[in-house]
Amino acid sequence: MHGLTPILSTVTASFLASFVEVVEAFTIVLAVGLTRSWRPALTGAALALAVLAALVLAFGPLLALVPITVLQFVVGVLLILFGMRWLRKAILRSVGVIALHDEEQAFSKETAALQQQANDRRADYLAAVASFKAVLLEGVEVVFIVIAVGAAHGQTLYASLGALAAFVLVMIIGLVVHRPLARVPENSLKFVVGLMLTSFGVFWTGEGLGAEWPGADLALLAIFAIIAAASFAIVRWLRGAYPATAEGIAR
């Protein structure tokens, strides 16, 4: 599986998913940096990145010991669970059942919490912990996505490049605008990522079971198209069947 289709889909899925996660982590680190100071913000973030690197170094080589069909099956199952979770949330957000994620709100909430701790003698430590937690929690998801979309077909390098590109892009935009990236169409990104990860999950679980998909790698695109068409149909149906929710919290 080294054609253009799997490489492009691996890089795109990894890039988009990582972009969403890095934006969320960036909001918290920015809040810590602007409210307290950059020292605890960057110290916490750097420590979290070190923990994530240690996790990858500790568990990454173990994947090479797992037979490929078992790896495809396990990764496929995890991707189905992960992808459908994102897809469900994105569908519910797009019809207004749950509120859209708001980076400005997350920034304000974190800033308020940090200001309350300003007089605490451990304020710098608590600020560093907030930064550490944000980067660690979002980073764990990035690590999973990179390993999941990359490992089952030996494309971890491409997946890593996608994640790295997302990280660099968010940092560049963040340095320029110096505020939460609230204009990022997060729900649309999550929708696409949910579709892609669920498609990868179905494709690889099928391969893990021994299925030879018609068209080989191109079947991934067909699976994506079917899941996308069904998801958009679900959104339309929900808007018609439950109009009260569509007028609710967010569109």
Binding site: R88, F144, T205, A211
Partner: protein
């Protein structure tokens, strides 16, 4: 230890949001795996059933959530 607990909690949360969606997906995968491995169901049919089953589970999950919200 706190960091490890945090990572573990996040790991579980990554896959389970709506518990019944996760459970139904796992049951579906288990049933298809048994059918392919023990009952000689062709793997491609298993893969297609998996695709259809995932969409049905997703539909049921969002329908339940939307209905709960409008009550």
């Amino acid at each position: 230890m706190n960091a490890i607990r945090l990572v573990f909690k996040e790991l579980v949360g990554m896959f389970v949001d709506d518990g019944s969606l996760a459970l139904l997906a796992l049951v579906l995968i288990a049933l298809i795996t048994v059918a392919v491995k023990l009952l000689a169901l062709p793997p491609l049919i298993g893969g297609l059933l998996l695709l259809a089953g995932c969409l049905a589970i997703l539909l049921e999950s969002v329908r339940r959530a939307a209905r709960g919200r409008t009550r």
